[in-house]
């Protein structure tokens, strides 16, 4: 392991790797990435691969648009097929309040160039054969949203980054961050130390622990999020289907499996990744209610990952006042994967070329103290 680097990135998930990827392609390779497990160990290897541009704030819509454009190029750039399929996202709204909310967000999305449409339940049934729209008021549908296979996206970025000369250390746990006169000077791991002046906290669910090593308190809290996968079926389900009333979502992967999860308002904050029967029952119930023809499909496996949640459902990015050289790139909740390409590029331009960007002001840590939060309403689970 190198003993010094211009920049250390803690977390070998999609966020940290996307940053390393863009830095390396801009010519900065004196970078060390530290990953506590194997690649895909954290949320980047456990999520459902949903990629959507239907968001309720301008910043997130723009980040998602840019990320979709980048995901479309990623297989070519990395040589790893990420199985990105733009089958669209179909949201179901079951009450007037959510329907009104949808109407507003669709207008905003349209203004920014996302071709989302409000459609009737009858139209939705034409998109998804056998869809049960009983009790559904209205739906929103954007054909340019989609799903991908998260693993090869992680491997692809990692491969390119390594080939360009960046060191990625897997199975390497960060045990300390040395701060001297309010400046980061060293990152200590269980396999040796790296002297550096800049460290990026891209540790997802572990971000709050990493921050503490530098004496910082973050408002982030990790939550278990469960998910399941069925046996593979012949392709029949074009869009990702998501019910906004209970946070159910499911899509068909390029392998043919139905893959999805459901929000659980009773889930406490924890670092737990066990599987629960409660999830299995709730998910099967909801999935069958929405698409009754799934009732005889066999479930193969359920698992769990994390949402790294902040109080307003938005990430915490950029500088943190009391410690010079400590950079935040975390708190993405359930949508880190889909925003990572754009965020990584913007962060790379900011770190390397001092190119400022709105996200470092809108999503800085200081917003909680200033009371300048704007909640993202469009989160699932």
């Amino acid at each position: 392991m190198r003993d010094r680097a211009e920049l250390v990135i803690i977390g070998g998930g999609i966020v940290g790797l996307s940053l390393a990827y863009h830095l390396a392609r801009m010519g900065m390779t004196d970078v060390v990435v530290l990953e506590q497990g194997y690649l895909c160990f954290g949320a980047s290897g456990r999520n459902g691969g949903g990629i959507r541009q239907q968001w309720s704030t301008e910043v997130n819509i723009r980040l998602a648009q840019q990320s979709v454009r980048m995901f479309k190029q990623l297989a070519r750039e990395t040589g790893h097929n990420i199985w990105f399929r733009q089958g669209g996202y179909l949201f179901l709204a079951r009450d007037a309040r959510i329907a009104a909310e949808l109407e507003k967000t669709v207008k905003l999305q349209n203004r920014l160039g996302v071709p989302t449409r409000l459609i009737s339940p009858a139209m939705a049934r034409r998109l998804v054969e056998g869809l049960n729209t009983e009790g559904v008021e209205v739906c929103s549908y954007n054909s340019t949203d989609g799903v991908l296979f998260p693993w090869p996206a992680v491997w692809g970025m990692a491969t390119v980054v390594r080939n360009l000369g960046v060191e990625i250390n897997t199975f390497t746990r960060v045990t300390g961050i040395d701060v001297k006169d309010n400046h980061v000077v060293k990152v200590v791991t269980d396999r040796g130390a790296v002297a550096t002046h800049r460290v990026v906290n891209a540790a997802g669910a572990w971000s709050w622990q990493i921050a503490r090593l530098a004496g910082l308190e973050l408002p982030n809290k990790p939550y278990r999020h469960e998910i399941l996968v069925t046996e593979p079926l012949k392709p029949f389900l074009e869009p990702m289907v998501s019910d906004l009333s209970d946070g159910t979502y499911f899509s068909q992967t390029m392998r043919g499996e139905i893959l999805g999860g459901i929000a659980d308002p009773q889930e406490p904050s924890s670092m737990e990744t066990n599987s629960s029967f409660r999830f299995l029952a709730r998910m099967c119930n909801s999935m069958i209610r929405i698409l009754p023809r799934l009732s005889r499909v066999k479930i193969l496996r359920q698992w769990a990952g994390y949402y790294d949640e902040t109080p307003d459902g938005q990430p915490i990015l950029g500088r943190v006042k009391p410690v010079e050289g400590f950079v935040q790139l975390n708190g993405f909740g359930g949508h880190g994967f889909m925003l990572a390409p754009a965020v990584g590029k913007i962060a790379a331009e900011w770190l390397l070329r001092k190119q400022d960007h709105q996200i470092f002001h809108t999503y800085d840590l200081g917003r909680f103290e200033r009371g300048e939060t704007r909640k993202e309403n469009f989160t699932i689970g």
């Binding site: 895909c40 029967f277 069958i288 499909v297 066999k298 479930i299 193969l300 496996r301 359920q302």
Partner: protein, 93 residues
């Protein structure tokens, strides 16, 4: 060695394991994800031991690599409808 199948559900061969190993995927969890063994219908019941043994051999007989990948429900593929009846109040043991 020809076409020796390690995982019958996903058609993963010994050559696939070797290739993944040569690309740096040298622990069982990574090897599983990169080649796809144990991700099919049997969820590893038929292939996990073979893959672990092969990985151990690639690492010169290192049997610490043979810790199995994480076991998750379901034990057998089961229709969704079997669980849908269990509804919300159901708690874990």
């Amino acid at each position: 060695m020809g076409r020796t199948i390690v995982c019958r559900c996903e058609d993963v061969t010994i050559e696939d394991l070797k290739q993944a190993f040569s690309e740096g995927y040298r622990d069982l969890e990574s090897l599983k994800r990169y080649t796809g063994f144990a991700t099919g219908f049997c969820q590893g019941k038929c292939c996990l031991a073979h893959a672990a043994r092969f990985l151990s051999a690639l690492k010169g007989g290192d049997d610490t690599v043979a810790d199995p990948t994480r076991t998750r429900p379901l034990l057998h593929p089961t229709p969704a409808s079997r669980f849908a009846g269990a509804a919300e109040p159901m708690e874990d043991e």
